[in-house]
Symmetry: C2
Subunit: 289 residues, 2 copies
């Protein structure tokens, strides 16, 4: 490229910081390898052949592609560009996660976020399989080879329909629900949530009488609104405004449902650690039991 631009071996060699003979031979080797004459050179003048001009264009292209590849690699390494597959539960997406994703996205335009809605157990499986980079699950989780950061901690609340006898109370105690019909999520999928809720009910002296299982939070709330029963969910449901529903605090339940971000300790890539940094920054004081 230097010779093509200077059309003068000595000047090109000066520009490249090598001696002129070295450059002459370099060009000779190149021509030999390509089996194409790139320069017409008499003792007095150097000119590009047509093929040489074509190769000059090609060389510019090569330099561009190489530079871009290197630059992109470095950016990926620094996490400036990349992609993250992030799992989330109903609680996570109903709580802090949306604003968290939004601010992260605004700060790191080059990172493409791929959110996946899955319950905790599915997310754990996908993390194992490498199908997710970060899971946002009901925790805390202690799992070999995984690290976690808490992202939210919610009280439980009771949701009833507007005409329910308890609807005007504002807050109740958990044992007041002993005789109520419960609507809840699918037992198999929501095991992590139930493993929180059921011990609390047992402590309050009853086993919840589940009359209906819905497929997800929205379904549960819909069934509650129809008057088919009540439910206990996390306080993030306050963010969802639904007519005919009333949310009641549970006075005697101080336990909080943790939602944690979870990732394989190994293979901490640039974008992943940037995301985790953002999580840590957001909840510096929140600590796990």
């Amino acid at each position: 490229m230097a010779v093509a631009e200077e059309l003068h071996f000595r000047r090109a060699a000066d520009r490249l910081g090598v001696a002129q003979p070295a450059l002459s031979r370099a060009i000779q080797h190149l021509e030999q390898e390509l089996q194409v004459r790139l320069f017409d050179r008499s003792n007095r003048a150097v000119r590009l052949t047509e093929a040489g001009a074509a190769f000059l264009r090609g060389s510019h292209g090569i330099m561009n592609v190489v530079d871009r590849a290197v630059e992109e690699t470095r950016q990926v390494d620094r996490g400036q560009i990349g992609s993250l597959r992030i799992g989330y539960t109903d609680m996570a997406i109903g709580g802090v996660l949306p604003s968290l994703l939004k601010t992260f996205q605004a700060r790191h335009r080059g990172i493409v976020l791929h959110p996946h809605h899955d319950v905790t157990s599915t997310q754990l499986h996908k993390l194992d399989q490498g199908e997710l980079d970060i899971g946002c699950v009901t925790g805390p989780i202690s799992r070999a080879g995984y690290d976690q950061v808490p992202i939210q901690s919610e009280r439980l609340v009771c949701v009833v329909y507007e005409n329910h006898p308890l609807a005007r109370r504002g807050s109740i105690r958990l044992n007041e629900l002993a005789q109520e019909d419960f609507i809840h999520g699918p037992t198999r999928d929501w095991e992590h949530f139930f493993s929180y809720l059921f011990p609390l009910c047992r402590r309050a002296g009853f086993v919840p009488h589940i009359v209906q299982e819905a497929y997800n939070s929205a379904g549960i709330l819909g069934l509650v609104a129809c008057g088919m029963g009540v439910t206990v969910l996390t306080e993030s449901v306050r963010n969802i405004l639904i007519r005919d529903l009333v949310i009641l605090d549970l006075e005697d339940v101080t336990e909080r449902l943790q939602t944690v971000a979870l990732w394989k300790t190994e293979s901490l890539s640039g974008s992943k650690s940037l995301f985790i940094d953002a999580l840590r920054e957001r909840s510096p004081d929140m600590d796990l039991p």
Copy 2:
């Protein structure tokens, strides 16, 4: 790329035909130069980092661009692709040149032809300046550093309007035009053509009485059709059918107007010599005086 595909240094080294330590160090050097870790390698497993995956994609791109640059360069060298700037005169474009360009184009799809309409003197100038690759001019031309091939040789004919006294004759002698009004092209530009015609008239005993100059062949024929005068052109005007015009042979003019293709002897590129080969093939027996 081999390591990234095999995820195994020894196998990759085998594939590349080098020893494993050499490959290990090559990767180390690459990582050092990029300042980016491309592989996570324990003693038991090799995996691409995210940056490594990015660089693998980049490398594929680089290989493609390099291969394409080399291939394109070779094709240009062989003349399989390229571009040719070809000048032509009214006579050339009225005669064999169109079919010549057409067959050449059909045979060499990769070569882009750029025709430029110019009179002989302009073409010569542009050839000197390197603004044309091949000129098709009124010849023969003897010019240092240039080669030529004849592409057509035409008789002169007289063109008159339909009601002209000579119109029914079919053929005439040149001196019968002694008293006629002549229409002709611009004296300055058509010097090459005039340098043929005027000596013939002088030999026939008269100096043509030019009453009107048009800008080009079409203009001349238009003025002739209007009855403003007659003209002498080459027989290629037979290819242009214009109402109200009659073409007469000139019995006593055996001289022929040569049109030749002309190019700088030096810098014979692939596509240029292919074009010249095609010209030579087309007129193998036509010889210049």
